[in-house]
């Protein structure tokens, strides 16, 4: 639709100009004919006579106005046309156009400023969030470290306690073994002594009383044990 609106005046302009003789110089032939006809009439009426005058008049007919001379009517029409276009454009169209462009420029500048402000604000928020995130990460790391430390402490404590328990158990077991051994040894002493006494009694019969024999045997055993 816009293109049609633009093309319409151009087409009208083209046809208007084409309506004037369409080819450059189209009017030249007619004017030449008209000029020669007028000359013939002048020759018949005797206004022009003589070969030189006729030739000169014919040359004049062949000449069209010198295109290097600016015709005053065309200057006037150009002045009128320029005055109209300058008045219309400078008074109405261009101020409105400039106003529209200025409004758009202002709006774009405002939008850009707002966008820049928003960007700075977002940047600040992002920096704030990053700071908080870094703090949170630090806190989490600290908590994890503390937990690890606590776990290590607990582990060490448990290991130490277990080792102590084990040592105590080992010590108790060793004591038990030692006591059992001592007890067994004592029983063994006693038994051996009894057996020896019984044996000795059987061998010597009544030479020695029981207590003496036992003392004798224990001394002997102690001697053997000390070796």
């Amino acid at each position: 639709m816009r293109i049609r609106k633009l093309l319409a005046p151009l087409l009208v302009a083209g046809f208007l100009v084409a309506a004037v003789p369409g080819v450059a110089g189209a009017s030249g032939g007619e004017e030449l004919t008209h000029c020669v006809t007028e000359l013939a009439e002048k020759i018949e009426s005797g206004k022009v006579h003589g070969d030189s005058a006729v030739n000169s008049a014919l040359d004049d007919c062949r000449k069209s106005p010198n295109f290097l001379l600016p015709p005053l009517p065309e200057i006037i029409w150009t002045a009128i046309a320029f005055a109209i276009v300058a008045g219309a454009l400078m008074k109405f169209a261009l101020p409105a156009l400039k106003k529209g462009m200025k409004a758009r420029e202002d709006r774009i500048r405002d939008d850009l400023t707002a966008a820049e402000n928003a960007r700075v604000e977002a940047e600040t928020l992002r920096a704030d969030y990053e700071l908080r995130l870094a703090e949170a990460r630090g806190e989490a790391g600290r908590i994890v470290e503390e937990a690890r430390q606590s776990a290590d402490d607990v582990r060490r404590d448990l290991v130490a306690r277990a080792e102590a328990d084990a040592a105590e158990l080992r010590s108790r077991a060793a004591d038990d073994v030692r006591l059992a051994t001592e007890r067994a040894m004592a029983d063994l002493h006693t038994r051996v002594a009894e057996l020896s006494v019984e044996l000795a009694e059987k061998v010597v019969e009544r030479n020695l009383d029981r207590d003496t024999q036992i003392a004798l045997i224990e001394n002997y055993i102690n001697e053997v044990g000390s070796r």
Binding site: R2, I3, K5, L6, P9, L10, A13, G14, L16, V17, A18, V20, P21, G22, A24, G25, S27, G28, G29, E31, L32, R62, K63, S64, P65, N66, F67, L68, L69, P70, P71, L72, P73, E74, I75, I76, W77, T78, A79, I80, A81, F82, I84, V85, A86, A88, L89, M90, F92, A93, L94, P95, A96, L97, K98, G100, M101, A103, R104, R107
Partner: protein, 259 residues
């Protein structure tokens, strides 16, 4: 050339001579050139009028064309040449640029195919307008001795003023408007003549019945014509730009002579 001469028996002037449609032999004789000037006016008003009515945040279509044109002139001409103060001159320079451009570009737009600026009246008016504006601005900005200041550049030994003053006087106040007008006019005339010659050669070669000899040569003027159309589009743009930027330079000098 013989063919061109046969087509245009009254000479090259005939390519640029347009009879009046009405008001013949009066000051308001209205011919095709005047019509093209008014159509350029209408196109400029249509583009910037429609473009300024839309206020879309992201410009599209005609609004995009209008805003891009405005920014291009402001950035590349007004501010580039005149500095920050040049922004105030953007509307005038933009009007000048597009008015000239559309009158130039008619050269390659069928069925018009005639640059209005190849009529000397139009460059002359625009150059005189520029001349008048920079002189008036000079007097406003630099005071009543503007012309004296303009023709006596600082730093020149006093003795050399004998040479410098006439040179500056002629170059600033006579040659500037003349060169502005002639540059635009001559470029557009040359382009129009070249396009006409190539077009006529194509047309006449295609009409001849003498066998394949002529037909074999048709591609030469045809491709020449195509290349010239592209080149003339560039010339149309470039000449509008040059005229506008020189206007900005002259006005800028009148505002800030030290530049």
């Amino acid at each position: 050339m013989v063919v061109v001469a046969e087509l245009f028996p009254r000479g090259v002037n005939e390519l640029f001579d347009w009879p009046a449609m009405f008001g013949k032999d009066t000051l308001l004789a209205f011919n095709k050139t005047a019509l093209m000037a008014l159509i350029s006016t209408a196109i400029c008003i249509a583009i910037f009028g429609l473009g300024s009515r839309k206020r879309a945040l992201v410009p599209v279509g005609i609004q995009n064309v209008a805003e891009t044109g405005y920014e291009a002139v402001e950035t590349n001409i007004s501010v580039e040449v005149m500095g920050a103060e040049g922004r105030k001159w953007t509307p005038f320079l933009l009007t000048l640029f597009f008015f000239i451009f559309f009158m130039n570009i008619f050269e390659v737009i069928p069925p018009i195919q005639f640059p209005a600026t190849s009529r000397f009246a139009i460059p002359v008016f625009l150059a005189l307008q520029t001349w008048l504006i920079f002189i008036v601005v000079g007097f406003i900005k630099q005071g009543p001795f503007y012309i004296l200041k303009a023709i006596t550049p600082p730093g020149v030994p006093k003795l050399l003023y004998i040479l410098v003053i006439p040179i500056e006087l002629v170059s600033i106040f006579l040659i500037r408007p003349f060169s502005l007008a002639v540059r635009l006019f001559a470029n557009m005339v040359a382009g129009h003549v070249l396009l006409t010659v190539f077009a006529v050669m194509c047309w006449e070669l295609s009409k001849m019945d003498s066998g394949t000899y002529q037909l074999a040569f048709i591609p030469l003027p045809f491709f020449g014509l195509m290349a010239m159309v592209g080149f003339e589009i560039l010339v149309a743009l470039l000449q509008a730009y040059i005229f506008t930027i020189l206007t900005a330079v002259y006005v800028g000098e009148a505002i800030h002579p030290e530049h």
